[in-house]
């Protein structure tokens, strides 16, 4: 039971980052590695702001804004300087490493005993895990509501069209560069928001906390797509939450089964390979049935 609660509470927070990854990966159809740095960027900004006395809510929003700016940089590199998406992401990621260190002033900022969003719920007598769950549910619902409304606006529809067919969109008078930049910004804003909340749940921001986040995000997206194909946009967002819970559950299960620490990374890689290759396996199975 414990690992289910643990997976659910962490899954909600991770799902916000996974939704961010989904926006670039599936809607815009680019692989954006900025995520690996915008995640710790959100954590770094919010943690250092909280330590210096800013209210945790404002600190979290500042983290989100930091992510928007990181996305803006990657978006400009990709669209205006015509740098391939993968490289643009790597460039921003590399540069942000130094920026993150500057923001934190050190490699690890502790939030122990500081006023965080989680602390507010702790003070109401809840454990850190339940506090994480509540914050995660509220934040992910707000994010989904925002995206639901946003992608019904003219700009939102134009972003969708740009990702679906760039040439056609351009021919129809859509400024595809701007649409991509906005997509990059929202994506990285959400990823940074997830990082900001994760730092408050973990109790610290760390320079290396971004490593592997893109993989966690992608895994969550893919698991949700394996479970349910072809669903509407909003349903997909909810399913990504489920995907991210399931991914954490699998990793927790591996941990609980007592895998030797040296083998842990290997197991993570195996779990991910299974997740990533499952669409292929599923296709083959389906074909055999027919």
């Amino acid at each position: 039971m414990d690992i289910i609660i643990s997976s659910v509470s962490q899954g909600f927070l991770w799902s916000i980052m996974a939704i961010g990854v989904y926006l670039t990966y599936r809607i815009l159809d680019v692989a954006d590695l900025t995520a690996e740095a915008s995640f710790p960027l959100g954590a770094a900004i919010s943690a250092s702001q909280i330590v210096s006395g800013t209210s945790p809510l404002i600190a979290t929003i500042m983290g989100l804004v930091g992510g928007l700016l990181a996305g803006l940089v990657s978006g400009l590199l990709h669209t205006k300087l015509k740098i391939p998406a993968l490289l643009a992401g790597i460039l921003t990621m590399t540069g942000l490493y130094s920026v993150n260190l500057r923001i934190m002033g050190q490699a690890n900022v502790s939030l122990l005993g500081k006023k965080t969003i989680m602390r507010f719920f702790n003070d109401l007598g809840m454990t850190n895990q339940i506090a994480t769950l509540i914050v995660g549910v509220i934040a992910s619902l707000i994010v989904i509501l925002f995206l639901f409304l946003f992608f019904r606006t003219a700009i939102g529809l134009a972003i969708h069209a740009t990702g679906d067919n760039n040439a056609m969109s351009e021919a129809n008078g859509i400024n595809t560069d701007n649409m991509k930049i906005i997509g990059y910004m929202i994506s990285n804003g959400l990823i940074a928001l997830s990082g900001a909340l994760m730092a408050q749940s973990n109790g610290y921001a760390d320079i290396s906390m971004g490593i592997g986040t893109i993989v966690i995000g992608l895994a969550s997206v893919i698991i949700s797509e394996v479970l349910f194909k072809d669903v509407s946009f909003v349903k997909r967002l909810f399913l990504i939450i489920l995907g991210s819970i399931i991914y954490r559950f699998i990793i927790s299960l591996v941990l609980y089964l007592g895998v030797a620490p040296t083998d842990l990374k290997l197991f993570s890689a195996i779990v991910l390979t299974i997740c990533l290759s499952s669409p292929l396996i599923k296709n083959k199975l389906n074909r055999k049935k027919k």
Partner: protein
Amino acid sequence: MKKKMLSSLVGLAAVGLLVGCGNNSAETDSSVQRIGILQYMEHKSLDKAREGFIAELKDEGYEDGKNIKIDSLNSQGDQANLKSMSEKLVKEKSNVILTIATPAAISVATETTDIPIIFTAVTDAVSAGLVDSNEKPGKNITGTSDMVPIDKQTNLLLSIVPDAKAIGIIYNSSEENSVIQAKLAKEAIEKKGVKVKESTVTSTNDVQQVMTALAGEVDGVYIPTDNTLANTMETVGEIARNKKLPIVTGSAEDVKVGALATYGLDYEKLGRQTGKLAVKILKGEAKPADLAVDMPTDLDLVVNEDMAKALGIDPSTIK
């Protein structure tokens, strides 16, 4: 198809439930105390601290599988796993949780304010927010610091090169412990009227180049207990050998591989010191809030004689 996926999902959850329950029922024997260990990453010094801790418990009559059950976890530096593991140790109602390195200590301290936590290999527990003060921790957490005697070490370096005009310090700027130590070392050396040139790296890939550049500009080098530099000490030692440059390091392990000398702390002994704190808590003799944070007591002068000869220094003159 959807139904199938759902049912397999439910099946997966059921397996999880079984695993979860299986663990819980086997662990209700109240005469056995549970010790959780959470280590941040795989690392020689950290491993030794853990081994020393377990050895000390054994000497005090607490043996794994007899009257205690040790659950030893290692997050391999992965932050997401660190959190899951902290939750696991707290949920399993450990009697005492040993945390090795700062991120592990903060992570567990975030999950529980009741279960006694003992940390080791934490350089500055106060600035990490773990304790109110080293003398009076005040919460459910105390432990041992691995702060090395930087004053003693830099003095050792200056005594080896008494005419030095400039001393270099090289470290990874993204390792928090290194940054703290480098700052202290810089202050200590500058106080003696010697110039300091700081060089930083961000990964093992940078070390060769940065060290070569630094070696040409200084008369001696100080290296804090830095994981990146520790992993590339052979490379660093080779450059020092060619340039006839004495290096004093924060850790004794580094001296064996490529540096000249240090006053080092023994992580196994530090682990044993940490074990003593745990025993007091297991016996109910003390609470973490009142147990002062222990500083390393056993310091040994370590000299790499082979390196000394290569540099043309008589090992017996180093002290």
